[in-house]
Amino acid sequence: MIKRHTYLLGLTLWCVLACIHASAQQNPDFVAAFNYVNLKQADSARARIDKAIKDSAVAKEAQSWYVRGFIYKYYYTSKEVNNQSSPARAEALRSLRKALSMLPDTSKELRGSIHANMKFIAAKYHNDAAKSLDTSNYQLPIKNFEMYMEIMRQIEPNMNLKPAEIEFNLALSTIYTSLYQANSRTRSNILELDKQALNKVLKLDPNSVTANYNMGILYYNQAVYLINNSDFDTPLTSLNGIQDDQVLLFKKSLPFTEKAYELDPKKAETIQALSGIYFGLNEYDKSKLFQEKLDELKKEKIEQLKKDNQH
């Protein structure tokens, strides 16, 4: 496997070298950088390509920047692959982009190679975002995911990135919700971020059951917290104001939860949420109606399980 990788690396570099302008090839640092890649000496390869690129004859060629991008990518995979904010990866991308901007429209072959390298880097940004997104770390994953999106939009403008964006924002919303639930009093900004993430999903896919449900629950929980976080000492005057805010939040929750129900009427969580919202709005008959629907659904599921077991 390693042998094959080395062979491919050599072959790629040879192909690049073949189309490099003669002036670049005459630069000893440029040639040395190639040799160091073949010798798998990433530090030296990087040092020599940086020295070479200072030569104006080398720097004026798109190919030189491509090679620099390639070497930095090689350095990243050798030395910084576990660094989620790897400077080498960022530098590789910068060089590849510069190469792309300098390339005439006719250079299809090199354009393809640049795109392939950028795609590799994009995938790494995506993977890093996916790997590290959790409650203790969400800012860097956001940045990395944005990098992924930015690169993919540039190199594959016709690619449908909606599913990835939806998936990421739903995951992000889950993280924000956990953070908010862990400390709701000091994290009201988190709630706004949560809403922003869900709004992004709803803009991309207004029929997302999960996003509609989660947005509904977000407002619902906010309403419940208002009361549950009120001290027993809350005077009647304040309680009145709290109830006003609470009703407003339950009413904001309703259209999202109703939409989720409309899209998937057999989802128990949604039916339960609707029963809860109406209970919160003190509309007990409607709450009971959804509770009955939920009981019916549970019965249906049990019947189905019995049938499945008989078969």
Partner: protein, 166 residues
């Protein structure tokens, strides 16, 4: 390519607990805005819950563990049947015990007990405070006359917060 782990559906808080917490806040306010007869001013401050209303009992127990009614400690009782000799400062009668309400009023007649209900029209049947829903919000109706029959003095502030009966 990595994948994001999405916990698809968020957890929902319990609206019944919230509703009970709200009522416990009301009840605690009542203890400050109503004056009980002298012989009810010592010993524990007893709040009884007649009927099945577990979330309210739980909330009142939380209240009892953190607050007092003046100098009196709260004592929360789940009441299965009403005894004439029983002494409650507040008796919350839940909706499932409405058929027994006449029995409650006759057995506790003249006691220093604040009778609290949550069904339309109950102040006409002897309840002093009746929770009602107005524009999706919990409010309360107050029958000063019924309170006075139980030897209770209602403050003007409490009167001001009560909603008028239709």
């Amino acid at each position: 390519m990595g994948f994001f782990l999405v916990s698809a559906f968020q957890q929902r808080e319990d609206a019944a607990v919230m509703n009970a917490h709200q009522k416990a806040i009301f009840l605690y306010n009542f203890t400050k805005l109503i004056e009980w007869p002298t012989d009810y001013k010592s010993g524990n401050f007893v709040i009884g819950v007649y009927g099945s209303y577990i979330p309210l009992v739980n909330e009142l127990n939380k209240l009892a563990s953190t607050k007092t009614a003046g100098t009196q400690k709260f004592e929360i009782k789940e009441v299965a049947s009403i005894e004439a000799a029983a002494k409650y400062h507040i008796l919350f009668v839940s909706t499932d015990k409405m058929l027994q309400f006449a029995d409650v009023t006759s057995k506790l007649k003249g006691h220093g007990t604040l009778l609290v209900t949550e069904k339309e029209g109950m102040t006409k049947k002897g309840s002093a405070i009746n929770f009602v829903v107005v524009e999706n919000k919990i409010k309360f109706q107050l029958s000063k006359a019924n309170a006075e029959k139980q030897q209770l003095k209602v403050s003007r502030d409490l009167e001001a917060f009560a909603v008028k009966e239709e």
